[in-house]
Symmetry: C3
Subunit: 330 residues, 3 copies
Amino acid sequence: MTHATVAALADLVGGRLVGDGERRIIGLGDLRTAGPDRIGFVRNAHYQALAATTRAGAVLANVELTTAASQIVVADVDLAYAKVAQLFHPGPRAVEHVVHPTAVVDPAAELEAPVAIGPHAVVGRSRIGAGTVVMAGVAIGDDVTIGRDCVFFPNVVVYGSVRIGARVIVHANAVLGSDGFGYAREGHTWVKVPQLGSVVLEDDVEIGASTAVDRGTLGPTRIGARTKIDNLCHVAHNCTIGADTAMAAGCMIAGSSSIGDRCVVAGQVGISGHLKIDDDVKLGGGSVVLKDVAGPGEYMGHPLLEKRQFLRLLRKWREMVERPETQAGD
Amino acid sequence: MTHATVAALADLVGGRLVGDGERRIIGLGDLRTAGPDRIGFVRNAHYQALAATTRAGAVLANVELTTAASQIVVADVDLAYAKVAQLFHPGPRAVEHVVHPTAVVDPAAELEAPVAIGPHAVVGRSRIGAGTVVMAGVAIGDDVTIGRDCVFFPNVVVYGSVRIGARVIVHANAVLGSDGFGYAREGHTWVKVPQLGSVVLEDDVEIGASTAVDRGTLGPTRIGARTKIDNLCHVAHNCTIGADTAMAAGCMIAGSSSIGDRCVVAGQVGISGHLKIDDDVKLGGGSVVLKDVAGPGEYMGHPLLEKRQFLRLLRKWREMVERPETQAGD
Amino acid sequence: MTHATVAALADLVGGRLVGDGERRIIGLGDLRTAGPDRIGFVRNAHYQALAATTRAGAVLANVELTTAASQIVVADVDLAYAKVAQLFHPGPRAVEHVVHPTAVVDPAAELEAPVAIGPHAVVGRSRIGAGTVVMAGVAIGDDVTIGRDCVFFPNVVVYGSVRIGARVIVHANAVLGSDGFGYAREGHTWVKVPQLGSVVLEDDVEIGASTAVDRGTLGPTRIGARTKIDNLCHVAHNCTIGADTAMAAGCMIAGSSSIGDRCVVAGQVGISGHLKIDDDVKLGGGSVVLKDVAGPGEYMGHPLLEKRQFLRLLRKWREMVERPETQAGD
């Protein structure tokens, strides 16, 4: 079982220790119920009173509180909480080399021990780095490269020739490397254009459940380092998504578009094909993007406008229809 | 084979029997082609003429018809049809205890016989109630509790610690309990917040194909009793959906939002995070919800308005652009 | 290894041969790097200069170029490229009869040799035509009919009684034949209407990753020949989609609607239930369709308007809000 002194936790989160640093903490706890081997947290002033009566051994907060608990004072409680929670609840990671007897692994696959391959998983002539966990029912094609310490939740499918960095997390039923939606026309008929490219996921990417990332037509579809994509998103062929970007659920990115670094794309955004979204762009929920977005800023809506303007347009629309009918003249 | 007298069927649906109640019915049929051991139905006046010439043994209708068939007269034909159809076409249910030899079931799993576990299914240290059917390729993690008479269609994934009531139906490739999309920021980098909560599906919930319900950050994401969710929906971490609600395909519900009881959410609705939708709210297709919705009623659109108002706004928008260009002055 | 003379390739694509037709080509190549046994292509004038210096053996272009390579001149380079690429990169096809030892195939299944059944696939009492490839983890129910030369990528689920034509491609994690979202009301409670119909996919259909096509209530949900559907789409019960139609990712088609032949539906379109979209209709990305669409043409938006009009409406909306606040009087 993981345990740490309060002083070590203060170090981990870069916080200021107040009180006894030697207390031994074995996990997170709720300030109302936790005992002396637990650390709780106070996210906002509303909960500060709890600190006075808690029996928890330590508390994370952004101000010094009146409490018998040891304190770790930090600027950003959410960030500090995330780090402490990761310590006590690390994600899955292979520490012993285990290939479940029901897994079907190509004899030419290169598994860098320790790797954990779950029941009924299928691994082609591919390479998997140490520490990686491949859960039940995952299907990995040929010529795939997977880095260290990745996690593939059950029933993920990775088509052939996909490149995946280190510490990538792929949630259940996501699909990486499916054919891009590319056809030529012959009269009224669609003629399939073979999709010969690949998908590249750089280090520390996380992909949500049932999200699909299509392979490129000739080159790669690329998702940059540390970018996080939520559930049920679609990234079409030949797209490039930068680093440190976050995309919420239900976004559909059409072919050959690019999204910059450090963008935040809210849920259900649609982006047409062959567009360029600059770095540091925030797109509000449900936006429909039909043109390039140049320059950092917050944008929203359909038509896509600066957020402030679109909120104003929403108000104007409401006014158009909320006036009494006789005055509106309709 | 299931069979029932017309009188028993009338009882089942709470209908009024007209004619011979002793006829033996073995299934549904089309009034045009069915023989005397079948029951047909007449949904609207348009089809009443069929009743005069049918050879079917019985007919469900909301008015008394001129027919040689036995009749069951009910107020709501759709409801009565559903009940009769359920009798003759019940869903899958385990009646013998069968664990397929290729299934991988943790020795510590508790299966309350009879349970049916299909080929290549994987079941962790979890509990499954009697009557439940787990089809091919389903992966169920550890510490999951599943009630009686549930059905999991192929390749569903249930992460650890999910709680599922009785008579829950989960369609193929749905995912329950995937990590919520939660990150803290450290400079430009996203730091994963471990998702330590759970998912609770109460009794009689139905979840559509490829729908994803994320686990809560600390507490549960909860879906109330008898609520039905269609395909390709996303329910984010910490959401609460009430009882008897229906949500059509492609809806994306962001984190920590709540939807009340008896709501009807049409397709492709997006709901921002941390919102409260009251009981008895109907949201029209494609609505984008950015604020709380207080009070029962029908709402629609972006901006979200009362349905009547949004339809008026749609008309005004059409007028704005359908006028000849010269009069519009643009 | 596939190889062909330039003359044979010119024949394949119906192009005009310029130069040596006897050169032997073994694959595609980039004009910058390819050697004499490769064929490159020039999609637009921008790249014509490459032709002068290439070492590739042949080049596809829509004009005659100054080059030492053999040339194939065609009207539509994209179409010709697709055909040549298909020749050198054909999709998966069973040429030997192989049932993986871990697959679970019902003894009553009829497999028309050669068929390839992958690891952990499950096939019920169903019929599968020659040449068809069923990859890892695919689950096919009972009474399913599948034609020749189909491909099912990993973890696809096909419910019972689905009918699939020849040369159909189904990408990973797609679901065919899940229950339609049909309920009757009893007070506030939803009573499930058993979904007794089927799904019919005609010849040469392609279905994207994680797309779901629900079975009909009594009859089929039907997708016409040569129609292509992208990732993460939903086709509800009782829908009919015509032939030669293409539908991009994230579209949600509600129950009993029909879409004609030769339609192009862009991404994230929503179509309400019981609507009729005529043949040869194009719907722009993110459109919300609440009424029938009569007559061929391009439509877009919410409200759905002729594309030209909706783009005008988008401009008007922008104007409404981009005027200085003082003049706008708000």
